[in-house]
């Protein structure tokens, strides 16, 4: 690229900008509109990658890479971890609680955008010098020379900042154990004293078709037992109730036996088969 007075980019870059830019904006919008935190995080990651590309396009090769590695690679992953910790499905209802907050926010955002646009428009930024000269010795070298000469102090300070942040994070997340941990014996005695469920909890339901920890085992009367499912799943409400299937299978069994003993009863089989099929699809759904 050569530095001209009135500077324009190559058509390729323009094309790339318009396409990716659109995607980036959409990603950003999704970030703020998605119901579930996970989805927001994913959209944001996408946007960031696109930004990385733009960095590269702007001749900030080092930053572009850092953007991908640090941001998208590390920070966003950190986000995902936290989301997991806090709960993937702890989706906050988008219903606004504070009166007029949403409209105010929207208005502010819009107004601010307009403002910035106006500002940028006012500032006549026609002539771009381009980075050709700056990047002669290679972008990374250029940055390095700057960082270690001109910005060395800032650099050192950021280092200190990072350390402090790390320590701070540890302090914040570390939970002080106040009392001695209970031994197994003590626990057992406690359970007995409180008359809790003494034997190990029943296993989750296991079937030929699918065995999964999220399926409640059935009690003799065919109703599912919550106990059999792991606590976390229970809290997230991710238990799949398959008791109906079991009953249908039972009916199907009787059906077959009647088939073998007597002449077939079309209607019932049909219904049975149809129901069977429906239920199959249903299960497909749930297993996703």
């Amino acid at each position: 690229m050569t530095a001209l007075a009135a500077y324009t980019t190559s058509t390729g870059e323009a094309f790339q900008f318009w396409v990716l830019g659109t995607v980036a904006v959409i990603g950003a919008l999704c970030t703020i509109l998605m119901k579930k935190a996970v989805h927001s995080a994913l959209c944001l990651a996408g946007t960031m990658i696109i930004l990385a590309v733009f960095y590269l396009a702007n001749g900030a090769y080092f930053l572009g890479i850092v953007q991908i590695v640090v941001y998208t690679g590390a920070i966003m992953m950190l986000f995902l971890f936290v989301v997991m910790l806090v709960g993937v499905t702890a989706a906050d209802s988008l219903k606004e609680t504070i009166k007029g907050q949403r409209w105010l926010a929207a208005a502010c955002g819009l107004g601010f955008a307009i403002l910035l646009f106006a500002g940028i428009g006012n500032a006549s930024l026609k002539d771009f010098n381009g980075l050709a000269k700056a990047n002669e010795g290679g972008n990374v070298e250029g940055l390095a020379s700057l960082i270690f000469t001109k910005y060395v102090f800032a650099f050192e300070i950021t280092g200190a900042l990072l350390i402090t942040a790390t320590v701070g994070a540890m302090v914040l997340t570390h939970r002080e154990r106040t009392e001695r941990a209970k031994t197994q014996r003590e626990r057992a005695e406690e359970r007995v004293r409180e008359g809790k469920h003494l034997p190990p909890l029943p296993a989750p339901g296991v079937y030929a078709r699918h065995n999964a920890v999220d399926i409640a085992g059935l009690l003799p009367d065919g109703t599912p037992s919550e106990l059999t499912v792991n606590k976390t799943l229970r809290e997230r409400g991710q238990i799949r109730d398959v008791s109906s299937e079991a009953l249908d299978d039972l009916r199907a069994l009787e059906q077959r036996s009647t088939d073998r003993l007597e002449r077939p009863d079309l209607r019932r089989t049909d219904t049975g088969r149809n129901g069977d099929g429906d239920r199959a699809e249903e299960t497909e759904e749930a297993s996703k």
């Binding site: 950003a28 703020i32 702007n58 910790l85 906050d92 105010l104 381009g130 700056a134």
Partner: protein
Amino acid sequence: MNPVNYLYLAALLFAIGATGVLIRRNAIVVFMCIELMLNACNLAFVAFSRLHGNLDGQIIAFFTMVVAAAEVVVGLAIIVSLFRSRHSASVDDASLMKL
């Protein structure tokens, strides 16, 4: 195309991020929006460095990233401990300032 469009894009993203901060109640999402705003700024810086033809803008962007990283670490830690204490990641639940 004039690279100034990068600036417009940055502005747009920034505004979106800001709006998100204001609308969302889930602390994590709010945080993401903040990250978004930071990135928008970075983009602007990069564009500026291209405008001026020197690397200082990129340096600033670099530092921004570092700071953002530190900030995310601490911020997420805060969110986690908040969640522990309140079993919720909603910023509205932490409204002790209310009279």
